[in-house]
Structures are given as structure tokens and as C-alpha cells.
Amino acid sequence: MSSTTERAAAQRRSSRVKSGLDYIDDRFGSSPFMRSAMDKIFPDHWSFMVGEIAMYCFVVLIITGIYLALFYVPSSATIIYHGSYKPLDGQSMSAAYASVLNISFHVRAGLVMRQVHHWAAVVFVAALCFHMCRVFFTGAFRKPREVNWTIGLTLLMTVLLEGFSGYSLPDDLLSGTGLRVVYSIIESIPLIGTKLVFLLWGGPFPGTSLIPRLFVLHEFLFPALLVGLLSAHLAILWRQKHTDFPGPGKTETNIRGSRFFPQYMLKGGALMFLTTAVLCALGGFVQINPIWLYGPYQPYAVSAGSQPDWYVGWLDGSLRLWPHWEFRSFGYEIANPFFPGILFPGILFGVMYAWPLIDAWIYKDHVAHNLLDRPRDKPFRTAVGVAALAFFSVCTMASASDLLANDWHISYERIIEILQIGVFVAPIGFGLIAYRVCIQLQRTGNMIIKKPIGGIIVRGGDGAYHTLGDHHGDHGANGDRLGGDLTGGGHLVRTGGGRGGAGEGAPGGAGEAASGGAAGDEVQSQRGSGAPKEAPPGVAGGETEA
């Protein structure tokens, strides 16, 4: 803003913008909303971007999905194939399978679209799982954000259904086998199973109704549900604002980060393009689901070593791990697949839905939080999360038991037996280790803390000076109720001495900041913005060294 010409140009642009906004505001009165929207602050932590990556995967899925839908034929009608893929010439197959062959070999850019679509689905679920982990381990689901946790879980379930229904659309041998198993799982539900499965499939397996129905679910019902739920998810997020990690200058009632416009909007857009770029590279170079190698579905054929997409592996694994039990009395039976296929995921999701309540009960913590826990400060919760991950991992490994048996030269029976033990031992073991590690990290953390605190001193309206950034120890009365949990989630000051505030902690901290630690950078940059050249009255930036 130096020369007069630049100033004049800024004036002119500003007046043009003004008249444009006047036009809108005259009609909608939108200025206050727009201002607060553009001034909105988004925290800059990298882990918050994974949820966005998931969102951008969804965008890619919709765009590529629409392209695929234009060529896909949702029909089980049997045809004799005479298309571009010669090895299957003359084979009888469903029209759906033939249309996917057509997309892959005949439609221009069809194969790349298909592969990008499938990769996007795989990455989507991975990003969602990561997103969920970060929310879990940092306690971001606590009050007031429990509702968004619930919506998020419903999103996850819908995405799993969306993924599985899409995976089944090509009607190839692999996906058809997966459907056969799902049919049996639903059939096993007590009382209503057989009726329900007839309604879904329109009769005995496989029938000709399912593919068109799956198409309706995959194209319309689930995506519509996802868009609706996602909108609610984001609207609530917008209203409640992001959580943030404790750190210099951050308190329960403020938020520190970049403005929505331009920083966040440009960077968010960039993340979308970069996500898309990576998905395109994967879709172009890494083959996925080559259905022409699996062949069309035949109800009496199946190939060994058939693996579903990774995100349903845990369910397939649980079917393998559950012993050969089923229960029968008075002429009625609860069939085997019901337990690992319905009861087990039902209980798991039940616990996940209830977790905010359970967590609040464990920690006797019913107040609202905006600052996150560090995982180590809530060892029990962290241990539960790690145990759950170990559990899912063992189940997922079980779904590859035949492949593992091949690779490791052990019989598949041994692998399953090992994993049947592992499914109990691994969660307990990893949970205990996680607990110990948390406690240890808390201790070491106590000793080596020399991070700068109180990056800025501010004079309040009452004329008194306040140090920003030393409120970390006391954001809510949580913690210290269970095991070794420490009070609060702050990581800057925990020892008695450190609590003293800026005067003690800062000198060492300032030195570190200069040497370029991550936290140091933050403080420096904040200092930069805290001490503008034409410093307005009432601000004393970077006073901590003084």
C-alpha cells in the first residue's frame, strides 16, 4: 500500500466491489453473513485436512460416477459377448458385466474414469477412517460435538454400503461371491431373515432383480443420503467451529488459524486439486479391479484368493474367525453367519455411537470443550482406541488368511487359529502398551518442556496486561479421574514451576523459537502479526523476551 497510484487503484476496485455487493444486499441483506463467513477462522493443523480429503474424494466419485453411469447397463439379462475384449468373445454373461467391459475397453477415457472412481472409493474410506481416529483420539467428539460424531458414524456406514454396492455392480465373479455371502448373512437373521432376503433380492439367490436394485441404491439412495448427511455434518461444523489443539495463544474461547477467504478457500481448493491429481495418477497407473480377469459371475463357480475391497475385509475376517457354532432349540436356529455378520458389527457400531456418552461417564466430564486432548493425556481412551484398531487389524488379516498362508508357508488352519487367539490378545496387549506409552510420554513431557509460552502480551480494556497462551492447563475439569490421566489437555506447562507463566518459561522458549522449532515458528509469526508496523495503541507484541 505504498504509492498513490496503487492506492487509487485499490480505491477503484473497492468501489466496484461495493456496488456489486450493494446489488446483492439490497435483495438479500447478506452483508453481515458474508462478512462473518469470510472472516471465519480455520485452524491450520494438518490432521484436520484428512476429513477434507475424504470430501474431495466424494466429489471425484460423483463426477467420475456420473460418467460411468452414462455407459453402465444395470441389467442381469444374459447376453453373448462380442466386444473389444477378445479373450471373452462368445462367452455368455450379464449385460451389466458386458457394459463394464465396454467401459474398460471401448469407451474412450472409460478405463481411467473407472479406475479413478474405484481408487477414489478406496482412498475415501481410508481417509474417513483416519478422520475418525483423529476425532476419537483427541476427544473432538466431546460436548458440544457429540451430534456430529453420530452423523459422522452414519456417514461412515452409508459410505461402506455405497462402496459395497458399487463394488457389486460389475457382476463379476469376485463381487458375485461377496453378494452370495451377504445373502447368507441376511438370511441368518432370526425370525425375519428369510423374508427380508427375499424382499431384497426378489427371491432366491442370485436372481435378476438385484443388479437393477443395487444400481438404484448406488446411484440414488445412498448418494442422496450421503449428500444430506454431509451437508448436516458441515453445517454443524460451521456453526460450532473447529476444535483446536492447545498451543500458544489458544484458549477455549478463541480460535487461531487462517481466514476462510482467501487463505482457507485457496488452500482447500488446492487440496481438492491435489487429491484429484493423486487419484488420477493412481487411476492411470495402478490397475484396480480388473474384472475381465475374474470373469463373469457364475453361481456355481468361485476362485480362491478372492479378496473384497479392504474396507469390508474386517467383516469377512470376522466370518472366518467365528467358530463353527450355531444354536438350535425348539426347531429354530440362530445360524452361524448371524453372529460374526450381524451381531458383531452391530455391537461395534453400537459402542461407537454410544462412545461420547461412555467417555463423558468415564471422565465425569460434562462440560463443553473447544481445545483438544493430546492422546497421551487420556491414556485410557487412547488405549481403548488402540485396542479397537488392533482388533480391526486382526480381523482384516483374517480375511487374507489364505494369502498369508501361501506367503508364510503355514497352513491356513494354523493362521486362523493364531488369529483366533490374536483377536483377543492383540487388543489387550496393544491397549496395555498404549496405556504405558501414554503415561511414559506424560512423564518425559514433563521434564523436557522448554517450549515458549505466552507469545504475546496484551493490554486489556481495563488497562491490565495479560499474557496470552498460559491458559492451557485448565480448560475444563476433565481428567485425573481415571488411572494416570492428568488434568487438562495442555502440553505447555504442567510442572508446578512452569505454571508460573511467562516470566519463567519464556527466556528458554525465545531461544528455541529463534532456532526454528515448530512451536517457535508459531510464536514468531504470531509476534510478527502482533506487532504491526503502525502498531495501534494497546498492543505490545513480542514482549516476552524483555
Binding site: 452370495r180 455371502v181 423374508k195 477467504f261 491435489l274 472366518r320 463353527h324 480494556g461
Partner: protein
């Protein structure tokens, strides 16, 4: 704003702007330009309500209009060129993509151009935001710990609700009637769901196998005992006289196994179900191919151990022990089909199955009459 009031206190109407209110277009006040004192002092840019006291944890007057190369015009120019270069890559990729498309398409090249195009765009945006644009690292107020309203607002809401709900609650009779009506009507609205599938009428226990039906291969050729060599297996279906649909095939697939001279354990009452005698060089038995776990076709036969393995979850069935499950989640034997050789020398079934094939379900009978195909025993 009412339009009758023409007093002096009203802002002037600018005739050129169609009666829009507000300042003269060409003379925007200084305060609208970022970086000025007024801008920095305006609490609303930091999430603070107008008139509310400035919170302690939001630094007053933090200047977020700074950007990286603000004081370095040369650096800014270089940054600008860097960004333009990234976008140039996108431009070239677009041209490349179009060329590949016209030339006939090739997944790998398309993927490469798409990657470069999107990556160029994305990296350019990141650099732009990082190097040339303000708005980093601002501290703003959340306007409180949560957005919870205060007590007065809540009371007002309860009042408004009460205004509507009270008069309704005064008529419990209507409430009950409506509840009943909606229940009945709602249930009847759900009825069309029934069109999605047929009634369940024992289909889970039935297969198309009938007395005297020949076993035919998947292409429909009848099978003679000599077609299957020792340790050989063949998937067969019942010859019903017409082509089987996929549902019938899925339910009736049967594995014919020549167990050679292996010691097959013949269950009492099943002495005549196999072809050839146990211990001779050719002994043929037939079992349902549908896994009793979750219905996959049990397709791997290990002739050395005489085990059948289901590829889905590795349930393993010992053929010599009447296809008893010896490993894995399958809870039951594979049902056996009684065979005989018909007068023309082809393999055929003596009857249907005597128990349901495939996975379990709530009211699965444990025995069915192989001739009438009705359930005869449930427990």
C-alpha cells in the same frame, strides 16, 4: 426502511444507482481498505460482537493483512512467475489430454496428464496463498465456549412453543385418534414393500433334484460313471428337461466325486447312495456344492487327503467322513445326494436331498422328505 419518510436524516438516494442507498460509488471511504486503522480496530473482523468488550484472549489490532513477500517486490515477482509456471503445466496438460483423447485414448497417458494438470493447479494455488495473500494466523473470538443461548432466549422459545402446543395438548382425544389413524395408515403405506419379493414358502429347503433326474454337466451333457476317473470331481446339475435359471443352478449344484479306493464311511441307511463299491477302484459319491456356512460353492478338492475346501472362509470338509466339517466356520455336513445308474448307464438321483442344502436360517428343518420335498423334522 419506510419510503414515506423524506426527512433530511435519510441518506441521499443516488439516481444513477437506481435508488440505492450508500456512499458515492467513486469515493469509497478509507475505512473500507484493508490494513487501515479502522479495519484493524473493527472488532467484528475478529468474531467479536459489536459493542461487546474486547476479550482478553484476542489480541487487539493484530494485523492480518501482511503477506510473505510484502516487503520484497523482487521476491513477489518471482513468486508470481512460479505460480504462473505451475498453471502453465496445467495448460499444457490440458492440450495433451485433448490430443490423447482425439488420438484414441490410453489410460496411462490420460492418467499422467490428468495428474499433471490437477497437480499444477493445486500447487499454484498453494503457492499463491502462501506467498502473495494475507490472512494467515489470526486469532479470533469464538463468541463464548459454545453457542448456547442465554436463559431469556430459551424462555422465549418455550413460550412460543407453548403458545402453539398448549391449545393442541388441550385436545387429547384428537391426539389419540390421530395417533391411531396414522399408525394404521402408515402401516398400509408400507405394504407395497411386499411387491419386492415373493413369499417364503419352503424354497430354502427345496432344490430341483427329483427322483430319477439325470446328473448333467453345466453344458447339459449327461454323465456316465466312467466319465469321472478316480480322484476326479465334476460339478453337475439336475436334468429337469429345460435349461436351469441361475437361481436353480445356485441351489442345486452338486459335486460328483470319484473317491477311488479310499475308505468311505457309509452311514446307516445310505448303503446304496454311492455308485461302485467302497474300496474298489471306482466309487462315486455326490454332495451338495453349497457351503453350509455362507453358501459359496465348495470348489477345491484335495484328492490326496480327500478334503473339500471352501474358498470363501476355508471351511474344510472330509469327504470320507460323509463331508463332515473338520475345520472352519461351517457348522454342518454337506448334504449327500443318493445316486444310481439309470438303465441307459447315466448317473441319476434316487430322490431329492434328505436335508436342506446351504447355510442355516431361522426355521430350517433338519430333515425333509426326499420325494415330497416337505419338511418332516424340525428338532
Amino acid at each position: 426502511m419506510t419510503s414515506i419518510d423524506e426527512s433530511d436524516s435519510r441518506p441521499e438516494l443516488d439516481p444513477r444507482s437506481g435508488g440505492r442507498t450508500g456512499a458515492d460509488q467513486t469515493d469509497v471511504p478509507e475505512s473500507l481498505l484493508p490494513g487501515t486503522q479502522e479495519y484493524l480496530e473493527d472488532p467484528r473482523h475478529y468474531g467479536i460482537e459489536e459493542g461487546a468488550p474486547w476479550p482478553d484472549d484476542v489480541p487487539r489490532g493484530q494485523n492480518d493483512t501482511h503477506w510473505r513477500y510484502e516487503d520484497d517486490p523482487r521476491g513477489a515477482r518471482v513468486a508470481e512467475l512460479r505460480i504462473a509456471f505451475c498453471w502453465l503445466i496445467t495448460l499444457l496438460s490440458g492440450i495433451g489430454l485433448a490430443a490423447v483423447y482425439v488420438a484414441g485414448g490410453e489410460a496411462q497417458v490420460e492418467g499422467a496428464f490428468l495428474f499433471a494438470g490437477f497437480a499444477g493447479l493445486g500447487v499454484g494455488f498453494v503457492l499463491w496463498a502462501r506467498d502473495l495473500l494475507p490472512g494467515h494466523d489470526v486469532i479470533a473470538s469464538r463468541g463464548g465456549l459454545t453457542h448456547a443461548s442465554d436463559e431469556a432466549d430459551r424462555r422465549l422459545a418455550v413460550q412460543s412453543l407453548g403458545r402453539a402446543v398448549e391449545p393442541m395438548a388441550r385436545r387429547p382425544f384428537l391426539g389419540k385418534v390421530l395417533g391411531g389413524v396414522l399408525t394404521v395408515f402408515g402401516v398400509s403405506l408400507v405394504f407395497p414393500i411386499a411387491s419386492l419379493g415373493p413369499a417364503v414358502d419352503g424354497q430354502f429347503a427345496r432344490t430341483p433334484w427329483r427322483k430319477g433326474m439325470r446328473a448333467v454337466s453345466e453344458v447339459g451333457t449327461p454323465v456316465k460313471p466312467s466319465d469321472i476317473l478316480p480322484n476326479g470331481v465334476l460339478t453337475v446339475f439336475p436334468d429337469t428337461g429345460e435349461p436351469l435359471d441361475s437361481q436353480a443352478m445356485a441351489q442345486s449344484a452338486v459335486l460328483l466325486i470319484n473317491i477311488g479306493s479310499a475308505p468311505f464311511k457309509v452311514l446307516p441307511g445310505r448303503e446304496t447312495w454311492h455308485i461302485g463299491s467302497v474300496g474298489s477302484t471306482n466309487c462315486l459319491v455326490a454332495f451338495s456344492k453349497i457351503c453350509t456356512h455362507a453358501g459359496c460353492p465348495v470348489s477345491q478338492y484335495d484328492w490326496w487327503t480327500h478334503e473339500l475346501v471352501c474358498p470363501c472362509h476355508q471351511s474344510t470338509f472330509q469327504v470320507l467322513l460323509d463331508c463332515k466339517p473338520i475345520f472352519g466356520p461351517a457348522p454342518r455336513n454337506l448334504p449327500q445326494l443318493p445316486l444310481y445308474v439309470d438303465p441307459e448307464g447315466y448317473i441319476a438321483s434316487q430322490s431329492g436331498f434328505t436335508e436342506p442344502v446351504g447355510p442355516g436360517y431361522w426355521n430350517r428343518p433338519i430333515e425333509i422328505n426326499p420325494f415330497t420335498h416337505k419338511a418332516v423334522k424340525y428338532s
